[in-house]
């Protein structure tokens, strides 16, 4: 055997059938039911797979286009339809609520928003995003993509409002005081609480929170900010006050 044949022989066989078990698994993980059943999720693209590696996550399956699988077949199992060159399958992990600064989401049903908040908390907070009832699955393809790798660096937590420790500040468009005013006297740890786009926080959470605060927007502005923007502003304000040198 010459060197080239030797290399070819030691290389794993390229997947050429759409009925391959690993491809079927990835296709299935686009559905919540399959993710729940298997406890797995898929991450598409080199950036996400690299983020997983840097955060020390071992893939259960890793398929590279043109190396492990025919490019066309990998394209066809992509949930994002973006022609990913690599797809990794990982085991879902959740953190515990905690940290001096964190975010609690309640009824945030849009996966893109959930992912963006995970990204934002990774940048500005020391605690994980806590997902309460009615939130989108943080391991859905859209949420994982929006989080841009922060899912691996800072996995979200699953918990109810009553499990939050310390000061809870409910962001609420109808609140009397601004975020800056309410945060001036807030004792850490602080959890910012945000509701879904339309419904906002349920009355029980609004009442039980230590304080309620609004983000000042222009009178001629929109009625509300989306939950990802509101969380971004809240975390920035929190970081500015609690860790001005960070």
């Amino acid at each position: 055997m010459d060197a080239e044949s030797l290399e070819a022989a030691s290389r794993p066989t390229m997947i050429t059938s759409p009925d391959n078990t690993q491809l079927k698994l990835i296709r299935g993980l686009a559905r919540k039911k399959e993710r729940d059943k298997s406890g797995l999720f898929a991450a598409e693209g080199e950036d996400l797979v690299e983020a997983a590696r840097l955060a020390g996550w071992e893939p259960e399956v890793l398929l590279r286009s043109g190396e492990d699988v025919e490019p066309d077949l990998l394209d066809r199992v992509s949930a994002l339809g973006s022609g990913s060159r690599v797809i990794g399958v990982y085991r879902q992990r959740f953190s515990q609520p905690g940290g001096e600064r964190s975010v609690y989401l309640h009824g945030a049903g849009d996966p893109g928003n959930v992912g963006t908040v995970i990204r934002c908390a990774h940048a500005l907070a020391d605690g994980p995003v806590v997902l309460g009832p009615g939130c989108a699955d943080p391991f859905s393809p859209k949420a994982v993509r929006a989080a841009m790798g922060s899912t691996f660096a800072r996995p979200p937590a699953k918990a109810g409002f009553e499990e939050l420790a310390g000061t809870t500040i409910a962001l609420h468009a109808g609140a009397e005081n601004s975020l800056a005013e309410e945060m001036a006297g807030a004792e850490p740890p602080v959890a910012l609480c945000l509701g879904g786009e339309r419904e906002g926080l349920p009355p029980g959470v609004l009442e039980a929170a230590t304080a309620r605060a609004r983000i000042p927007v222009r009178d001629d502005g929109p009625e509300s900010l989306n939950v990802a923007m509101a969380a971004t502003i809240g975390l920035y304000e929190l970081a500015r006050r609690m860790a001005p040198d960070a």
Copy 2:
């Protein structure tokens, strides 16, 4: 004729053919080429159509599911696949750059980000979002949806960096000073300048800007924020300093 027959006779005919011209027009507007050619765009859903109405925009076409068109046919021309109950077609409009506080985007290719920044500027700034070279079309279905109606209230502007007036602050992860530091002495009007997710701002814009500033993120945080989050934080900081009572 009894009252019911009279009402039915005065009602416009329900569209029952997928080859209807108006349905074809809406389907075409999912493509940039058709939007450019016609100067039109589509907005899907009651919230957006209501936002257009409130901002005084007359639709060129307005199709309501079950009233003007068979529900199934309207579903099939939806670019967002969300089963919209109404789709409106409007003529594209652009604003002129201006205002005391505005955002300039350069190479922001993601339509969702462009739409989110339009929303955010509507909430926190008095000037329009200025779209420089390489930005996603603000009238694409995804951008219009992400802007949640702010496209109508505050249409974006199209202009190059050199057309911006006053102080230009380039948001740049590698900048020495923080946003808060650079903004302390900034003379209005101020335009925040942001580049695309990967490339950032081109060197020419970075150099030509009045100042460069970074948004402080945690050392163990992600390498960058997405452009919509960065713009949100920038506009919040700007509003906080320049219009603290807004």
